[in-house]
């Protein structure tokens, strides 16, 4: 148990000698809504990719709830407790809404291959539990009605919600949301803000958020880190950071 759910120490990565991200130090407390912002190309998604094991960091390390998980595979990191959504929605497009969530819940079931194929009692009990859990999750997100719809047929806003629900289904300690409000109108964004806050409160969740929509960020986040050209420009409480002249200059230019 650690004071911080996520702590990164000088996290950095270089590609062919070019330092894409360097010396990123994040300290995120439990139940915080933490924002990672910065101009395009600053390296925010790269940080996410390192935190979820898609890339191995070149330098530095990070710890989840006190445990060093640097360099683990995406599968292991998910099992340890980090789940994410993607900038370009990555749903399982040919599968139904509930199946998408059920995939996320897969690791909660201990039913092995033999038991599943031969439909032993363990299959029935775990399957019932999984389905009940999935439906509950969908109900909370208002997606239960469409649980049999194929995921790619959902409207955009609901696809986003489904992606978040699916990530939550993996029972994480930390939820990474990569530009969840991208492509949304003000109405959908307001709903999303509520959804994220709801998730934090009801799922005892910590959320790390990449976002460009400053109104969302200022309404939602407790603390921010600003990245620019792969390095930390500023970090701290939302009001302080957003009023920092350096930050303003980075976004708006001279």
């Amino acid at each position: 148990m650690s004071e911080y759910i996520l702590e990164t120490k000088n996290l950095g990565i270089s590609f062919g000698g070019l330092k894409a991200v360097q010396d990123v130090n994040l300290k995120i407390k439990k139940n915080e809504l933490y924002g990672l912002i910065g101009p395009n190309g600053a390296g925010k998604t790269t940080v996410f990719n390192m935190l979820t094991g898609v890339y191995k960091p070149t330098t530095g390390s990070f710890m989840l709830d006190g445990e060093d998980i640097t360099g683990k595979t995406p599968i292991d990191i998910n099992k340890k407790g980090i789940a994410r959504t993607f900038q370009n929605i990555r749903l399982f497009s040919n599968m139904s809404v509930i199946d998408n969530v059920l995939v996320g819940m897969g690791n909660r079931s201990s039913c092995n291959l033999f038991e599943s194929i031969f439909r032993l009692p363990r299959y029935w009990s775990t399957e019932k539990e999984l389905r009940a859990g999935a439906r509950e999750l969908l109900r909370v997100f208002g997606l239960d009605e469409e649980r049999r719809t194929v995921a790619s047929n959902l409207p955009y806003g609901k696809q986003r919600k489904l992606e978040i629900a699916r990530a939550l289904a993996t029972n994480p300690k930390l939820l990474l949301l990569d530009e969840p409000a991208a492509g949304m109108n003000p109405q959908e964004t307001a709903e999303l803000t509520e959804t994220i806050r709801f998730v934090r409160d009801n799922f005892d969740m910590t959320v790390l958020l990449i976002e460009h929509d400053m109104s969302l960020v200022s309404k939602l986040c407790d603390e921010l880190t600003v990245l620019n050209f792969g390095t930390t420009l500023a970090h701290g409480k939302v009001e302080d950071v957003l009023n920092d002249p350096e930050v303003v200059r980075a976004y708006l230019g001279e």
Binding site: T52, F86, G106, T126
Partner: protein, 385 residues
């Protein structure tokens, strides 16, 4: 306890399809009123069903193109029948010999499935297809040159007798049982998620390596079993049968029946095998070419119909489900009662209904690019503090 409403048609339709063919012909067989040629045909239909369903596991559910299915069949046929030839001297019961040799054939093919699956883990679609094709050819060449397996003349096997098809159909039922139960479980969902979006699948904790291997192994197992059945149905077991062309024929069955559609595979396997055999008697060179032409057109048309982005609109309107809905509406004349007046639905609900499908991919982004040309530098060793 299972509620009665769990008893849905879709869970048993596949068994019904198989039994519809199996039960009448089994009865005919036991009463002795079945012809030898019909029995041969039925066995062929049976192992074609096994092949189609097992290939569908890899192609339709996992989403990878395996062009070496005939190769697995070849392994099973040779090894299984070879063992059967020896067992006949030792074990009196023909049935036992058959079952054991099917197991041996299946397991040996499964081992090969593992061997070929391991390198395929790192390969993408095109390369994987070629590797499976290469594997099929290698297997064929190797077996063809072993004198112990009969060399170029093939492996002679004991003719089995008319009731082979009954065992074969039992095997079909088992194949359906395993495939269906596998796919309707958390494992099946995991496998399909790999097909739909492998990166997201990994991010959700799905053990991709394990599942890819499992599917290859199970698919190969059933191909091997089918090979043993074939080997007992046809003698000699001839290496030239297990060609790349046969792998394509099985692929056509899968594509025609619908990828990921077990019922479709069962039906198309039966239909295509039937047509094939019936035409065989009249197959001169020309008809063989015509058959190939039709198969080719089936492949192209089916794939384009199901996959071309431009046809998406038409596809959504014209498919089995919508046709059923259309009929139930027109025929049953269901009236939809308009909701009574009352509270307006909240404003946000109307936004939800607008299908906004903004193609985010069209916008340059810094998302995960699988074909990132730049290698990340290796992790530097931590300096001791």
């Amino acid at each position: 306890m299972k509620k009665p409403s769990n008893f849905k048609l879709k869970y048993i339709i596949n068994y019904i399809l198989v039994l519809a063919l199996f039960i009448p012909t089994a009865i005919m067989g036991f009463t002795g009123s079945i012809k030898g040629s019909s029995a041969l045909l039925l066995t062929q239909i049976a192992y074609s069903m096994v092949l189609a369903v097992s290939l569908n596991l890899v192609v339709g559910f996992l989403g990878e193109l395996s062009l070496g299915h005939a190769g697995f069949m070849c392994v099973g046929a040779y090894i299984g029948c070879f063992c059967a030839n020896y067992m006949h001297a030792v074990i009196p019961s023909k049935l036992a010999v058959l079952v054991i040799s099917m197991l041996i054939g299946g397991i040996s093919a499964a081992v090969f499935g593992l061997i070929i699956g391991l390198p395929c883990l790192r390969l993408k679609g095109d390369y994987l297809a070629i590797v499976t094709l290469a594997f099929g050819e290698i297997v064929r060449t190797v077996f063809m040159n072993q004198p112990v397996f009969g060399g170029a003349l093939g492996l002679t096997t004991q003719k089995y007798g008319k009731l082979l098809y009954i065992i074969a159909f039992v095997m079909v039922l088992f194949t359906v049982f395993v495939s269906q139960n596998l796919m309707r479980s958390k494992h099946g969902r995991a496998i399909q998620s790999i097909r739909d979006n492998e990166i997201a699948s990994r991010a959700m904790g799905v053990n991709v390596t394990y599942y890819k291997l499992i599917i290859f192994v199970i698919s190969a197992f059933f191909a091997g079993v089918a090979g043993v059945i074939y080997g007992h149905n046809t003698t000699p077991v001839d290496y030239s049968f297990f060609s790349f062309n046969y792998s394509i024929e099985i692929l056509v069955m899968v594509v025609l029946g619908g990828m990921g559609n077990i019922s479709g595979s069962i039906i198309s396997a039966a239909v295509l095998t039937f047509i094939n055999v019936k035409l065989q008697t009249q197959l001169s060179g020309d008809l063989a070419a015509l058959k190939q032409l039709i198969y080719a057109l089936i492949l192209i048309v089916m794939v384009m119909w199901n996959n071309a982005p431009a046809l998406r609109g038409i596809r959504e309107k014209v498919n089995i489900r919508s046709l059923i809905d259309f009929f139930t509406e027109k025929v049953l004349k269901k009236q939809e009662t308009a909701p009574e007046g009352g509270i307006d639905p909240p404003a946000s609900a109307s936004w939800d209904k607008i299908p906004t499908k903004i193609p985010m991919d069209a916008i340059l982004s810094t998302d995960i690019t699988p074909d990132n040309p730049y290698e990340a530098d290796a992790p530097k060793k931590e300096e001791k503090r």
